[in-house]
């Protein structure tokens, strides 16, 4: 590995190179004093440079255990971990079926659809459902709701929380113990108290909030879902340099991936649709372009199929493409009203 690849400033790099330090090995045995003198820089700066050196080149005791790579996990361990993992239910069984049990933690799921199809509804529903107590088979987590469009309606969140509580109590009506144990949690207001709401008014704030979330999540340990409604709005409104927009967006998506993995939580991005001319006709497609379509783990598209709302798994490493109907009721997202089974695997 060369000096050129170290995350240090260009001027420091130039100094290192001109002083003859071209590879990491050449730096591995240098003391900060020596480096400071060779480069004619402050001691502090020299020790900062040495700090960014990869750990293993500094420490001589390399072989602690037989790990091939520090931090790597075998697929076997990950599989058993994943089997322990609970998913966040959408409230609609059919939708949960095609999603493999609900929205998965450690993954970034993007949901897109035309205006009025129910994206925000799904977002609010997930912010509520993530809080279902463990006794009721939920995750008992908290939610971060990042609202870029001002479409989060707290009245609606209250309604959905009530609907969720009603259904839970009904489902567990024979388990008096459970009901008694969680009486306090099962109040709409305590659901609302665990939704952290950020209102974002520009893309700068959107980037800022995502950068800041790392710190926020370290303090608020129980957050299990981050919802961004919508990820598109400000980037489509006022970003003029498209090439730079792509870079900033892909940086942002890596940051979100990292949050999902580090804090073991689900990230749900709501996206708008736009029209695109391909193969001689106009078709609907999710906004932000081709490059962005790689920025999520799973992609779900909500669409009208005749008079029913349907969800379609457009992209996923682990789920097969499938579609299922759902409906938006006063209680929230539920199964489609016509009760025939219409989950379709493709």
């Amino acid at each position: 590995m060369e000096i050129a690849n170290l995350p240090i400033s260009p001027s420091q790099r130039a100094k290192l190179l001109s002083a003859g330090y071209t590879t990491l090995t050449s730096l591995s045995a240098v003391s900060p004093f020596q480096l400071a003198r060779d480069l004619n820089i402050a001691l502090q700066e020299a020790s900062d440079i040495l700090k960014v050196m990869p750990e293993f080149t500094r420490s001589e005791s390399l072989h602690g255990g037989n790990a091939i790579l520090k931090g790597a996990q075998t697929a076997w361990d990950m599989l058993s971990e994943e089997q322990m993992q609970k998913h966040i239910t959408t409230g609609c069984e059919n939708l949960d079926t095609i999603l493999g049990g609900g929205i998965h933690c450690k993954e970034v799921t993007e949901v897109g659809g035309v205006p009025g199809i129910g994206k925000t509804q799904l977002g609010i529903q997930l912010a509520v459902n993530v809080q279902i107590p463990v006794e009721y088979g939920g995750l008992h987590g908290k939610a971060v709701y990042i609202d870029t469009e001002g479409s989060f309606m707290v009245e609606r969140a209250h309604q959905i929380a009530e609907g969720c509580i009603m259904d839970m109590l009904d489902k567990f009506r024979h388990h008096q113990k459970v009901i008694l144990a969680c009486q306090e949690q099962m109040q709409p207001n305590s659901f609302l108290a665990n939704i952290f709401y950020f209102r974002i008014c520009s893309y700068t704030e959107q980037i800022a909030v995502i950068n800041y979330l790392g710190k926020f999540l370290a303090e608020q340990k129980d957050v299990k879902i981050i919802i961004i409604d919508s990820v598109t709005f400000h980037f489509r409104q006022d970003f003029d340099d498209l090439a730079r927009r792509t870079r900033v967006l892909s940086g942002m998506s890596l940051e979100l991936m990292k949050l999902a993995k580090t804090y073991n939580l689900a990230v749900v991005l709501l996206n708008q649709v736009t029209t695109k001319f391909t193969e001689g006709s106009f078709q609907l497609t999710l906004a932000l372009g081709d490059s962005w379509s790689h920025a999520c783990t799973n992609r779900v598209i909500l669409y009208w199929n005749g008079n029913d709302r349907h969800a379609y798994i457009d992209k996923s490493p682990s789920l097969r493409s499938a579609s299922a109907p759902f409906s938006v009721t006063s209680k929230g997202i539920r199964n489609a009203t016509s009760q025939c089974k219409r989950v379709r695997m493709m």
Binding site: P7, S9, P10, S11, D48, I49, V52, V114, P115, G116, T120, V144, Y145, E149, G150, S151, F152, M153, V154, E155, H158, L192, A193, N194, I195, F196, Y197, F198, R199, I200, C201, Y203, T204, E205, I207, A208, V209, Y212, K215, S230, T232, F233, R236, D238, R244, G251, Q272, V273, T275, S281, F282, Q283, T285, I301, Y303, G306, D308, D314, T329, S330
Partner: protein
């Protein structure tokens, strides 16, 4: 928040100076660059850039609220402008919400302007009569605003107020009409409005109509108005609504559907061909401002007419199921024939029909 100065963020002076020297002055300047570009531009190491960006982000990031405290705010401050159409108010959880963009879409002559006039009056009325007791800014782009009609609506809906001496004048005086014809003019006025709204206790902003600004006059039937011109006014209107906590109501026209309209995703394939033709016949009108606009509005009310009946439909709303209410336009403005309305199934909620009246001949 985006324009906060980096020099005032408490970064170590050496770092802050580098930012200043490279002309990166605000949080916006810094955060719209990827970290890597910052590294090369500032000539700093990754760790330094990371910690600087972290600091900038933390300060730029707006504070959070729990949904519960949001709810308490709503209850305390009031969150709606009641339309006094009971069915509609119920569906919208109390009326036109503060802090959000509400759009009225429909063919011309169906009653959008009537609805706007009525809302303006309601916002101007003293609180003891259920109004907001504030001023109204009415941006009229098609010269459709009629004070006489407004007073007529007032006299018929609130006879007790408008019969008392001087009230009619006082009410009318609270409604400030701004006549505009072009988009640049509109953009300019919007910027001035920001201050006006707060200084003059404005409680409602109406833009009638938005589509006319973009398409330049009445030429809305030709496809493809220049959508990108709306980007800035759109986000500005939204932020105006948000920060002054007032309802913003805009109207949108309709146009006939052109052949290059997309309704399907690639994965839906060709199976839809037959139903596509069906849809074409069924709904030949669509909102003049396209899909991007539709994404941005929080509430969309569709005005339509068919079978000799007019309807208001709650087409997009985060809190209401799809409902339609039959209405008539009377001397007192719009009134609902039926407060229960009826449920609309599926995508029909988005169609705009205008049967019995041929729009092309008007």
């Amino acid at each position: 928040m985006a324009n906060k100065l980096i020099s005032q963020m408490g970064l170590p002076p050496s770092v802050a100076n580098v930012f200043a020297a490279r002309n990166i002055l605000t949080a916006k300047d810094a955060l719209s660059l990827p970290e890597f570009e910052l590294m090369t531009l500032l000539g700093m190491g990754l760790d330094q850039v990371k910690s600087a960006v972290e600091r900038i982000s933390e300060i730029t990031c707006p504070p959070y609220q729990t949904a519960l405290s949001l709810m308490e705010d709503r209850v305390r401050l009031g969150g709606h402008l009641p339309t006094l159409l009971r069915g509609l108010d119920d569906a919208l959880c109390g009326g036109i919400p503060f802090g959000a963009l509400t759009e009225l879409v429909g063919p011309s002559g169906i009653g959008k302007t009537q609805f706007c006039l009525k809302l303006s009056l309601l916002a101007a009325l003293p609180s003891c009569y259920g109004g907001l007791n504030g001023r109204v800014i009415y941006i009229d782009t098609e010269s459709k605003f009629s004070s006489r009609r407004m007073v007529e609506i007032g006299e018929n809906s609130f006879p007790q107020i408008f019969q008392s001496e001087g009230m009619a004048q006082q009410m009318a005086g609270r409604i400030i009409v701004v006549r505009l014809t072009s988009l640049p003019e509109f953009t300019e006025r919007l910027q001035q409005l920001k201050l006006t709204l707060i200084q003059h206790d404005v409680k409602l902003l109406v833009v009638d109509s938005m589509a006319a600004l973009v398409s330049g006059g009445n030429d809305t039937r030709t496809a493809g108005p220049k959508q990108h011109l709306l980007r800035w006014p759109l986000s500005f209107l939204k932020s105006l609504a948000e920060f002054s906590r007032i309802p913003v109501v805009v109207t949108n026209q309709v146009r006939s559907q052109s052949s290059n309209e997309a309704f399907h995703y690639p994965f839906q394939g060709k199976e839809k061909d037959s139903s596509k033709n069906f849809e074409r016949l069924e709904s030949h009108l669509i909102a003049a401002l396209g899909i991007q606009w539709a994404h941005a509005v929080t509430i969309r009310l569709v005005f339509e007419a068919y079978s000799g009946q007019k309807f208001i439909k709650v087409a997009k709303s985060p809190m209401s199921p799809a409902r339609a209410f039959p209405f008539i336009v009377e001397s007192s403005g719009i009134s609902l024939l039926n407060d229960d309305g009826f449920k609309v199934m599926g995508r029909e909620i988005n169609t705009i029909r205008f049967q019995g009246h041929n729009i092309l001949e008007q």
